[in-house]
Subunit: 341 residues, 4 copies
């Protein structure tokens, strides 16, 4: 069975497992106070061209989103996000569980628009009644988005500008950041993100790690006693060096970019395959997730040979399905997919 179901169906890059073996019985300090974490942080700071960056490794994406949001927001604030954002739809209410509203605005192929954001914030502040409303206290974007799309540098800069104008932080969910950086359409670099965003995370779980996300605060703005809040939300890993080790490995000799490139190459390969066979695309995605509008009958035939995700109903006879590649996707599997579709 070919597997294009998601980008988290295999383990980790071999360098990571090998290194885990090597240091397995070495004594380490707990809770991320070890030297491997320090080394990983330093490498990330360099990759971000952000000397001041403060970094905390966390285990997963929902956890990262919930912890960052609940730690940066004031009690009376919510986080602005696209209606299709991961925090809006697919985190089982993890943000609201911490007492904060997700202030949903329109998304366009998964992205928010700087002009609409500005209008939303202006309306809030102009409303005489705003003391009875949830204050917009942070802006959430994902890059790539849930639909695989990317912000251009200008779009990111504009959103950042609006956030600065209204003095609220911009937070970027980089669950699949590697694939965004490695995309052939990539207009935004890691240093750009570090410059424009107040906080973001570099996704490991979906990009070569067993698990783990590196939360980066770029403006010396890590909330005070952040570690205690991480613990309070159940996100503090006792053996924190396991996270450090993974990011240290991924940020050695450009491994993070290199393996991300494989996912993009394989995505381009199957994209071409679908195009040649005349399939319609639901969205034009330049990253590792490809969304196809497929006849329901065709889906039935295909699903015995390949695993992929059902996204949403399109019309009576068609469904949107997703094919995801990853750092681990093999060329032979991508080619085989092209043959059988």
């Amino acid at each position: 069975m070919l597997s294009f179901e998601s980008d988290y169906t295999t383990g980790a890059h071999k360098n990571i497992l090998n290194r885990m073996q090597e240091i397995n019985l070495e004594q380490q300090k707990g809770y991320g106070g070890d030297k491997i974490c320090e080394s990983a942080k330093e490498k990330i700071r360099k990759a971000c061209e952000c000397e001041d960056a403060q970094i905390q490794f966390l285990v997963g994406g929902t956890q990262a989103n919930a912890i960052v949001t609940a730690s940066m927001l004031k009690r009376y604030e919510g986080v602005v996000a696209a209606r299709t954002g991961h925090v809006s739809v697919h985190e089982a209410g993890a943000i609201e569980y911490t007492g904060h509203k997700v202030l949903e605005i329109c998304g366009h192929d998964g992205k928010i628009d700087a002009g609409e954001l500005s209008e939303f914030l202006k309306t809030f502040w102009d409303d005489g009644n705003h003391e009875h409303m949830v204050f917009p206290g942070m802006v959430y974007i994902s890059h790539p988005t849930e639909y695989g799309t990317l912000y251009s540098l200008k779009e990111l800069g504009d959103i950042s500008g609006v956030c600065k104008e209204y003095d609220i932080p911009l937070y970027l969910d980089g669950a699949r950041l590697g694939y965004g950086l490695a995309s052939m359409s990539a207009d935004v670099t890691l240093p750009d993100i570090a410059r424009y965003c107040d906080a973001f995370y570099i996704g490991g779980t979906k990009v070569g790690a067993l698990f783990g996300e590196a939360v980066v605060f770029t403006k010396k703005n890590m909330p005070k006693y952040f570690m205690t809040m991480v613990k309070q939300q159940g996100g503090l890993l006792a053996k924190g060096w396991l996270l450090g080790l993974q990011f240290d490995t991924l940020f050695t000799d450009g491994l993070y970019y290199e393996i991300s490139k494989n996912a993009i190459d394989m995505a381009e390969l199957i994209k071409n395959g679908f195009q040649k066979k005349g399939y319609r695309f639901f969205i034009d995605s330049p990253t590792n997730q490809q969304f196809i509008i497929m006849e329901n009958e065709r889906i039935e035939q295909l699903k015995s040979k390949a695993a992929f995700s059902f996204w949403e109903k399109y019309d009576e006879s068609h469904t949107v399905v997703r094919f995801a590649t990853s750092w681990a996707t093999r060329r032979e599997d991508a080619e085989e997919l092209c043959r059988i579709i």
Copy 2:
């Protein structure tokens, strides 16, 4: 200065104050365990034609919404509401503060549509991914809505039907319920509401009381230890009889309906006045709130003579403004308003 700013700018019906004077130094049991509360509850049960109704008096509307929602929902559930609903927009995140998401769907003049609700619920349950989403655990409607509109009996019945189909409770916010019941367009009675809704509240604050809302559970479904949860959310009034006394008075000899009728009569009077002068209405409201699209210049002139509310920007030169009548609005003031507009 004429006052049409809102329906909570004056005290209470005189019968209420007089009775407060009369019993002022009588000894009462605390926390609503007194006989006046019992009497008020019995009168409400009769007015609702719902013998089993369980009733808890609370102080205000946001409190009622937050307490009912947080007590009826399971931890993983949210409340479905129109995007313009009071719980969605104007309660400072009181629902989210209790850990629950407001699942916003489209509103139409403040109302939700049974068909769209059904579609929303169907999509949720059909989504293979729904275990990663917030479960719809209750439906919130307001009647009259935030725009003064009313559900027809058929509309209410249809929504109730959808809720039953998906086995989730229907909750109605009746902050201005009296004005909905007294409207000339009223198609829905208090017994209808008790029959179709699983919980609702009868608004006192805006309809003749100093403060107070009567939360009614209609299906023997008051959550167990509800009083403890009321206390936990800071809503338990020590001198609970003050709430009982007000509702006991309002539900004696049809006073609640009688004084609500005054608001409707005065609203119709000014509605006619605006129509005669050729004003455009933002919405056709059959209750005590009238929304007018007014030229910004005209607003400037008028606001020195009458108080009213700015609702939202309409276009560059016009604004939507709201004129609200109440149980206490004097005919002479309504007539004077008609003259000066």
Copy 3:
């Protein structure tokens, strides 16, 4: 039936009700933005000899405690209180519901000890592990305490000094503050409290008002957007002037002190009565609550003639019972009680 069950079994001082009648149909601004609230605040500032005091009126005590605590604490902080404190025991977890721990330390007749507090704070900060613990972020005391006892000026000053040393605010729950100020043992004045505490509330519900507590921030430290947080926790009264009016009345011509004095006089009267009859006291209370160790048999006989509260089991044959007087207790009733005990 004589009533000594609690201090919230009757309505309000007649001046309050009379004034409510007088202004009943006057138009007021909502949510406490009215002139009566302004006047009341000014009078309280004068009574506190604290020109900068920022004041918010709330409806009840649990609400006040939960709102102040949750607004002043940071996310990772808890409130230090005596194990017998109202927030620790009798508020149905209202503090924890907002996500904060009550850090319980020993109480002595309801009071905390400055030395023990200092030790607790020192131990916390000395503990290398404290980042895994709840930070002490505020100190809660009640005055009078739940046992009717009072802090001396020195005790209050010492606690305040410890709080300053550790830079955490001191908050005083004054549900029965009037009775503490009017006590014959009173060593602490309202200006003392304003000077030593960072926040406190002046209780109205139990001291002459229908309902209402005046929260006072004494160091220009009212949390930003406090009103929004009050709304978020369901504590914002639409007709806020009802609270202002009550405190404006209570702080006119020393009424608050005068009526508090009655409760003290009556408490002393029954205290003497119990002493003369040879009853044992559970605690030596100088305020309006008197705790008696009574034989179970005697309780059975007495409770058909007088209402009082069961406090706790003392031993197999005795129970601690509480007799509470109030601003409204009549001398004839207190004298009658003395006769029948």
Copy 4:
């Protein structure tokens, strides 16, 4: 440097890492829906002699405690625990963050007493005022406790009996469960725990795994939609099979017991060493944590050669320190420690 600082300073048993290598590139289902998790659950069911056991793997102990507690408790309930319990003191308020109070009772060497628990529950229910209090909704114990002590079978049975009498679940925190089962004083087996407790977790992080705890519900009582609540609290691991693999390995051929035994053997070895040298013990611990009362001067000398934990101040010249062994402690290190103390 000898390391006796804690039991989570090294990686995992080699079988775990080897197996991770082996299956690294196999495709797995996400979120724990894979076959390895199924196999691990089956092995745990057998080890517990509890066919009906429902199991969820989680990443860490604080997370497990917070998720289980917040999912099993009703909104108005709290969890009863020893004042020294991990949830009471060392989880940064993770329980309170979910809105629930930890109802602290006295601990005796880390354990609670069935009689005192019964008295606490009786007093709660007898208190006429209990509707204003936090309901005891679960009992939390740890085994081994934070002080290394163990419950006897009778003690556990008695506590379980009290819980049954009051119809509240008993939950056991088994962060170091292996060491409790392998202790020479062990009176309680895994099937005993499954029989007496309603829920518990088998600790992996401190007992041979990289990370991971296996939460076991023993009475078909896993809360409905538990997975959604795990997600909501940020505890759902995308690559859930990593947890399954670790527990599958630990519960193959008795590995969990075998490696736990090493910690016990090494603890006994150093215990004897300290005894021979005449050190005083703070507590008589039969498990892998040994608490010594040490002269401050001696501590200074020793800490350049061995890592250990400062527990608490004992008196002016002595401190309680902890030496912890683990599954990975080498005999040569334990012997060397005995020499240098």
